[in-house]
Amino acid sequence: MQAPDYTLLDVLIWAALAAYAGALALSLAGRRWWALVLSLAGVLAGAALLGLLIWYGRRPPLRGPLEGIGEIVFLLGGLAAWDWLRGGTGARAAQWTWAACLALLAVQLLLTRSMIPDSFMFDYPALLLFFQLRLAAIALLLHASSRHLAALGGGRLAGGQLTPGRLLILAGLCAFLGSEFSGAYWSFCWTGEFWHWNRGFLESSALFLVMALPLHLPPRWGARAGLACAAGVLPGVVIAGVTILHQVGSS
């Protein structure tokens, strides 16, 4: 593992923050193409941060404020740029996602930023998959929250307006289950147990149930725009909140 240049990493975090703040402001001012340019600049800053983290650690980012949030913001930036290009409800979702990126980057700047110490296990594929898929799940579910907020912001719900959000929840669930299975496999091959009575296991089980909530709304409740959107927002907000609290607690 190479010694990281934290000043350079901080510069990239501030650059991403400035780019997403600019993209959000310009999008609200109706400057469509400048907003796109700045959002892509944010994605580029995120990609550079990620590239440096991989170079320094000789492995993909895993967890913690620097690595975990760094990768989530990069993925969110990509999803937001894609939806901004599609326009309509997608463009409003992109604005919410840029706001989420700003909030995450602010949290990142407030917390201690350092790469997690190397471990002899960090070349084990199931471990890497566990962390990577968890980060992907958080990004997908947070963008699903944006999609639901955007649908609600448009007033009455037209047919199919919640579909992209629902698809993102399903994709997030797939990534989350993949992460959980990788974690169970890692745990089993190491200790012989595929679960442990610890904080991570209890939190993950609770998170899975929260993700299942929007998929089990009674039809009458699902027809109410506010309720359906609130249920769709919940998984992303909860998983991001729990993950940040977990990492603050264990750091």
């Binding site: 037209a158 190491w190 012989g192 147990e193 209890l202 149930l209």
Partner: protein
């Protein structure tokens, strides 16, 4: 029947159980309860509840309510699967079959997870020096034949948190630190093989896992031994299979919904 299969009950059970698990996660964070939770590892919940659990009323109550909520959720899941998906009036679409498969696999996964709480047959953190043996069951035993440890033995003297910081990929090569183990019965060697991290060996339903190494004695006459977990875990293969099936069903549902989704209405 309609009450037991209702989506309102599903929601109530999901919310209740999520909050209860969240409370458990908070409880684990309390120093006073952390040791109690650790006491649940590797032991059947029956044995724990009738023995050491009697001294832990908070944890015992939490577990009891958790199992009541889980029972409610599983009953709802099973009845809902039967009445709505298996015998219900809905059409025979691919989506319905996928939803049915997902619900059945979710039942299997949660059921096997629950069963594993009660079917523990583990000997964890067994510390053996070369030549020492650990008894298993039915005359079967595991003998540590030798240890090949190529890293700095000073790493083995570090406390847990320090060890985590210092055992890096360069200072601690997990492939080169090996324990040679043999399954024996009546002094007859049934199988002998090198044991590495993440590469368990199996004999007659018992699996042996290399968890770490330890050093006994002072510098001149120090001996290095292996820390092993000896586990009978018959539920892992069906659990893993059902879990992979569940992920595949979710993936197929996602692909199906993406293919059939209408373009979102533009604002």
């Amino acid at each position: 029947m309609s009450l037991w299969s209702s989506l309102r009950l599903s929601l109530a059970a999901l919310v209740g159980m999520a909050l209860w698990l969240g409370l458990g996660a908070v409880m684990v964070g309390q120093k006073a309860l952390l040791a109690a939770f650790r006491g649940l590892e590797g032991v059947s919940l029956w044995i724990w509840a009738l023995g050491p659990g009697q001294q832990q009323p908070e944890l015992l109550t939490w577990l009891l309510i958790l199992f009541i909520l889980a029972g409610l959720l599983l009953t709802n899941l099973a009845v809902c699967t039967w009445t709505r998906l298996l015998t219900g009036p809905a059409g025979r679409s691919l989506r319905r079959y996928l939803a049915l498969t997902m619900h059945i696999l979710a039942l299997v996964v949660i059921g096997l997870q629950g069963a594993s709480f009660f079917l523990a047959a583990h000997k964890t953190q067994v510390r053996l020096l070369p030549g020492q043996t650990a008894e298993l069951a039915g005359g079967l035993a595991l003998r540590l034949e030798q240890v090949r440890f190529t890293s700095d033995p000073a790493l083995l003297k570090l406390k847990y948190a320090q060890a985590r910081r210092h055992m890096s990929r360069t200072s601690y090569n997990r492939q080169r630190n090996v324990a040679q183990v043999a399954f024996v019965r009546d002094e007859r060697v049934l199988a002998s093989s090198p044991l590495r991290y993440f590469e368990p060996q199996e004999q007659d339903g018992w699996r042996v896992f290399l968890v770490g190494f330890f050093q006994k004695g002072q510098d001149g006459q120090a001996a290095i031994g292996a820390v092993l977990n000896l586990v009978r875990s018959p539920l892992w293969p069906p659990f893993a299979l059902a879990y992979l099936g569940l992920i595949a069903a979710f993936g197929l549902l996602l692909i199906w919904e993406m293919a059939t989704a209408r373009r979102p209405a533009r604002a």
